[in-house]
Chain length 405, copies 2
């Protein structure tokens, strides 16, 4: 008997998460074991509320791949602990699964979303008509363990490498001493900042300073590095992760943040970039600017990596295959077989091993001035950012996207 | 007798200013009236210091066109008043011109740079061996008078339209009430913010709120617009120019800025976006984020407009022709002949009319909710952002640029 497939998207956006959705739809439509293909709006919240869209007739895969963020919408929602299987959320999720005769439920997301996959597969275990629940990874942060990398990282990495390359040109034009500080996403993991450092790692001279959360940060050392860099060039460029911490594990700038208030009495929620901007102004006194790459680093589909989207698509297809094999409670993972030529294979890992855990930049890569480390990082990242993605334009020449309303 | 040509770049970067440089070099190399082609490093400062680069052998025009910012470097330097023709700067500039036998001096820049062109052409008037000094316009701000638009604007406009299109997708994913405020460059002129509004003007629903410096800004009206927009959609998007002013002509947020100090006792130099973020948090209390598009809006060569770079190149060539016609003290300008099909012709205007003046968004376009106004703005901007520019990649797949050291 054919049963139906349900797919949903969760967590923060990336340029690749719709490529994975496209892979899921393509594989599900092709399978003779799957009837209809449904998408839930706004992640697990849409499953709870029964907000489903019928995707069975959708075939515009290439355009969906080139659409940033979540065409189905997203949520940030934590299910009750599995010690409460009778909780209202679980009752409603079961209702939706039965009503729509769902045999496979694919959840595309990051660490938190894998928590949802783990809970649902545990709750459903032993229930004869319950769907197989499979996790399909995505996160620009690249911080999921047991996978070489995650879809979404390659595109964000490409955005960062290209944009820093342009900022290097922009900040190089004046002969007066200046410092530019670029703040990159990453509360705990420095993977994106490594990508922002690529223009230097491939043989350039900038960014001059690179700081990731894994390495304890010292403001004194930072200022010394700025002074040293000024001896070589008037234009100093630093790329720093948003989550820099000092040797006590305290966020850099946390003290500044709590000390500054605006006319409303609110503290300024400025990030580490703004904090370091003020530090340089105070201690060195030259022209200084901080740049927050903000949402653009995760939603810039026009700069998506072809390799990343192809892998995202393949991982979506593999998720459908795993669900049909009834591998409930598993997540699709990427294993790198070879670097030269770059080759991967897909496998499944236990979602319980992945959920709520983070993969950080390994200690062997912490000395970012070491040419050997730089070469290894290049070997890791460069294959992931390769290739351009065709853009879909409307009659006005602007990008055209797929949205499931 | 053949004399030589000198070219320099000045002011703030854009994605098109090197296209104009490429046009100058191409036309100069082709002319049998010009001997060698020199570039001055860092604008007029390089002329004063005699820091010249010989560009006579350069032919890699397409790659130079795809390089952001200034391949020759830039400066922000104001020459002494022309009532001091014997000032040291003028003496040194004359020395450089004589030493290198310069017959044509082309200065690529915006309002301030045209001040330099005006002063030099006035100083040189009547000096038999002095070069013809011609201004070649560029500015992302699009605020030069007596020209339909300026090279650099089309590419920045394209970056803004594409990026806002992506931010719309990114901010649309959650079902909870939220406000996103995007701050766009423009101290006095709203041209770039109009480009950021394009996704709405071509028939979309966002950005919900658009605010330009030309129209007096009221915080109360802004908050009311946010509340009204929240009735239609949980995700409210506002694009605002950095230079918003209230009905007294005071910069919005100026008071907040002066009131807030950090632990160093420095006032926070937060922009209007940050100010409005705090205002919304205070008065409405929902999730709110501000985004500053910062340098990226002027240096994103990977999103440059083909039309813009082609025009930049043509304007550079026309600058050489005007210099050979000895039209000293003139600036090249663009006249739009037709919208459908889009067609322009190049002409020269008196630099004295242009220098230190600004062309603002006309009052007939201030009602940005009027569909007729939106259609006119689209007709104005859309032809300028058309077409993609080929990218040059190095062996690592990263963008490769031209730099004259």
């Amino acid at each position: 008997m054919k049963r139906n497939l349900l797919v949903a998207q969760s967590g923060g956006p990336s340029a690749a998460i719709n490529a994975t959705l496209a892979g899921v739809i393509a594989a599900a439509r092709k399978s003779d074991k799957i009837g209809r293909v449904y998408g839930a709006k706004h992640g697990i919240e849409g499953v709870i509320k029964g907000l489903l869209v019928d995707l069975s007739g959708f075939t515009d895969y290439e355009k969906l791949k080139a659409t940033p963020a979540m065409a189905l919408g997203s949520c940030r929602y934590k299910l009750p602990p599995i010690t409460q299987p009778g909780a209202e959320d679980y009752v409603k999720i079961r209702d939706t699964m039965r009503k729509y005769e769902i045999g496979s439920f694919l959840y595309i997301g990051g660490n938190d979303s894998m928590d949802t996959v783990g809970k649902l597969s545990a709750i459903f275990a032993g229930e004869a008509d319950a769907p197989a629940v499979v996790g399909v990874p995505k996160t620009i942060d690249n911080d999921l363990p047991f996978t070489d990398h995650t879809p979404g990282y390659g595109s964000a990495a490409k955005y960062l490498a290209v944009t820093i390359g342009e900022i290097i040109r922009d900040t190089a034009i004046y002969a007066v001493p200046a410092v530019t500080i670029v703040e990159v996403m990453g509360r705990n993991a420095g993977w994106l900042t490594l990508a922002a450092a690529l223009p230097r790692f491939v043989g350039g001279s900038k960014p001059d300073i690179i700081a990731i959360p894994e390495v304890p940060f010292s403001e004194e050392e930072f200022l010394q590095k700025v002074r040293d860099a000024h001896k070589r060039s008037p234009n100093v460029l630093a790329v720093v992760s948003e989550g820099l911490r000092d040797s006590n594990g305290e966020y850099v700038g946390a003290h500044t943040k709590s000390g500054a208030v605006d006319i409303f009495g609110h503290s300024y929620l400025s990030g580490v970039g703004k904090h370091l901007e003020h530090l340089v102004k105070q201690e060195i006194g030259c022209k200084v600017r901080s740049i927050e790459l903000n949402l653009m680093q995760r939603c810039s589909a026009h700069l998506a990596s072809f390799q990343d989207l192809e892998e995202g698509f393949a991982i979506g297809k593999e998720g459908v295959a795993a669900a049909l094999r009834r591998e409930s409670g598993k997540m699709i993972a990427v294993e790198r077989i070879s670097n030269n030529p770059y080759a991967i294979r897909l496998k499944t890992v236990e979602v319980a091993d992945v959920a709520n855990k983070e993969q950080l930049v390994p200690e062997k890569w912490w000395d970012l001035d070491d040419p050997g480390v730089q070469a290894e990082i290049c070997q890791y990242i460069l294959p992931l950012i390769k290739g351009e993605v065709p853009q879909f334009k409307n009659e006005f020449g602007l990008n055209d996207y797929v949205i499931f309303e």
